[in-house]
């Protein structure tokens, strides 16, 4: 009896897991409210692992701060002056990865001007903003007036071509120190 219960529990657990992780399927989407309740946070998982598509770009998150009406230099969030550890870069890379997709999906042009409002409304921008503040506090905790995020995009040559690598910066609007991240 115990063996049967055990096997049943195992089957049910993996059926729910499968429904939860196969996020693009119809069954997964309709069962989401139930599967989420069971899976999060106790069995949280996602196995995209470079799927469905690998980004065609590399994106790094930089920022700068303004003090007394003067902008400082750009800082890369993946490096700290007095501390070196791969995890620092890894955290920054992850945010950069999200930012790349954020720009890809939400950046638009209106009357020849780049519009970042849709990007700024997204949680990933807030993540980058938070990281930039934490980074700044780590290197210089003196008060600042404004902070500006830059997404530094690198587009490698398309696969199978010998085109040049393209470097492009996307500077988000500056935000005042008193303004919370949107």
């Amino acid at each position: 009896m115990l063996a049967v219960i055990g096997v049943l529990a195992l089957v049910i657990h993996f059926v729910i897991t499968l429904l939860y992780v196969s996020s693009t399927s119809y069954l997964s989407q309709i069962s989401r409210p139930i599967t989420e309740k069971y899976m999060e946070p106790a069995f949280y998982q996602g196995w995209s692992l470079f799927a469905p598509d690998v980004a065609h770009w590399d994106c790094k998150v930089d920022y700068r701060v303004m003090r007394k009406n003067s902008w400082g230099s750009w800082n890369y969030t993946g490096e700290l002056p007095n501390q070196s550890h791969p995890k620092i870069q890894e955290m920054s890379i992850k945010v950069g990865h999200y930012m790349g997709f954020l720009l890809h999906d939400n950046l638009y042009e209106e009357n020849g001007v780049m519009r970042f409002d849709r990007c700024e409304a997204n949680g990933y921008y807030r993540m980058a903003y938070f990281m930039a503040i934490a980074h700044q506090n780590k290197i210089d905790s003196s008060p600042w007036d404004s902070l500006q995020i830059r997404a530094r995009m690198i587009f490698p040559a398309a696969f199978g071509t010998k085109a040049e690598t393209i470097y492009k910066n996307y500077d988000f609007p500056a935000r005042g120190a008193t303004q919370a991240a949107p």
């Binding site: 115990l2 992780v21 598509d53 690998v54 065609h56 870069q89 934490a134």
Partner: protein
């Protein structure tokens, strides 16, 4: 019908692969301990007051908030780290029964939720399997113990198969995987080509195509091929090469090592016993269980 009955009886009559279970749990808890030690120098940046991780909004409820405890209690992170480390150490040596194994899982969830940016799939896999291992202890011989052991090891196997199966299924829906450019674009990212080897390799068009499709087919076929004992060893050896490539060229040592460790659940009992013996580790499964299985 008799066969099914025999199979069900087999679940509680004996722990099928005690040495594999023992070897796997040693490797898994060692990986979690190693990963923790690797993160200790930057614990302030991951979980502490100067964390780079924006706090996530935890859902209401006491039960859920155990998992999110560190999100709002960053200064206590060092205590959670210490408990997690000690629990991993005790779990490796099977001390204090089930308590360290429960603590590894709970504190592991706390650490993940508060420092999610610094984690990848390798950690998630090991953390999930640490849950299944809560129920496993290869020393027991009681029928309940046997059922739990067999269920736990099967759950770990199914989890690994699910990782490969789902990753492959999602990849079949992507353009870059279909056109063969995924490995190329991955290696173009500075982070995934730390020593520059990947970037150098990416100039070889055919190599990129071969690696792309080989990876895709390996992941797609893993959940099926690994079930056949005849092909299993060779399949796992191929996977070892695949993950060593990820470790050496892409620098993802934590993820690659976690996947290699997970292969231990698929190892034959004789091979696992041989490895344990080589390192002088005894898996003192009770004689009663062995006798019962012979009878």
């Amino acid at each position: 019908m008799n066969k099914l009955q025999e199979k069900i009886q087999g679940i509680y009559l004996q722990t099928h692969r005690p040495s594999s279970l023992r070897l796997f749990s040693i490797l898994l808890y060692s990986w979690l301990l190693l990963y923790l030690l690797w993160n200790v120098p930057v614990h302030e940046l991951i979980w502490g007051r100067s964390s780079f991780n924006m706090p996530i909004v935890a859902p209401p409820g006491v039960f859920q908030n155990i998992y999110y405890f560190l999100v709002y209690n960053g200064p206590l992170s060092k205590w959670v780290l210490i408990i997690h480390g000690i629990a991993c150490f005790l779990a490796i040596f099977r001390c204090l029964g089930v308590i360290p194994r429960i603590l590894v899982y709970i504190t592991g969830a706390m650490l993940y939720n508060a420092g999610y940016l610094s984690y990848n799939g390798g950690y998630i896999l090991c953390w999930l399997m640490s849950f299944y291992l809560i129920f496993a202890d290869s020393r027991g011989s009681h029928p309940i113990r046997n059922v739990l052991n067999n269920i736990a090891i099967t759950a770990c196997m199914m989890q690994v198969m699910l990782v490969y199966g789902v990753a492959a299924w999602l990849k079949w829906q992507g353009n870059t995987w279909m056109e063969g450019s995924s490995v190329y674009y991955t290696l173009q990212m500075e982070h995934f080509s730390p020593a520059g080897i990947g970037n150098w390799l990416s100039q070889f068009y055919w190599l990129m195509l071969i690696l792309n499709y080989a990876g895709l087919f390996y992941q797609s076929l893993f959940p099926i091929v690994v079930l056949f004992k005849r092909f299993r060893t060779w399949w796992l050896l191929t996977g070892l090469g695949f993950h060593l490539f990820i470790i050496i060229v892409m620098g993802l040592w934590d993820f690659g090592l976690a996947m290699i460790i997970s292969y231990a659940v698929f190892l034959d009992e004789e091979k696992s016993a041989g490895i344990l013996k080589k390192f002088g580790i005894r898996n003192n499964q009770s004689k009663a269980s062995t006798i019962r299985s012979i009878v």
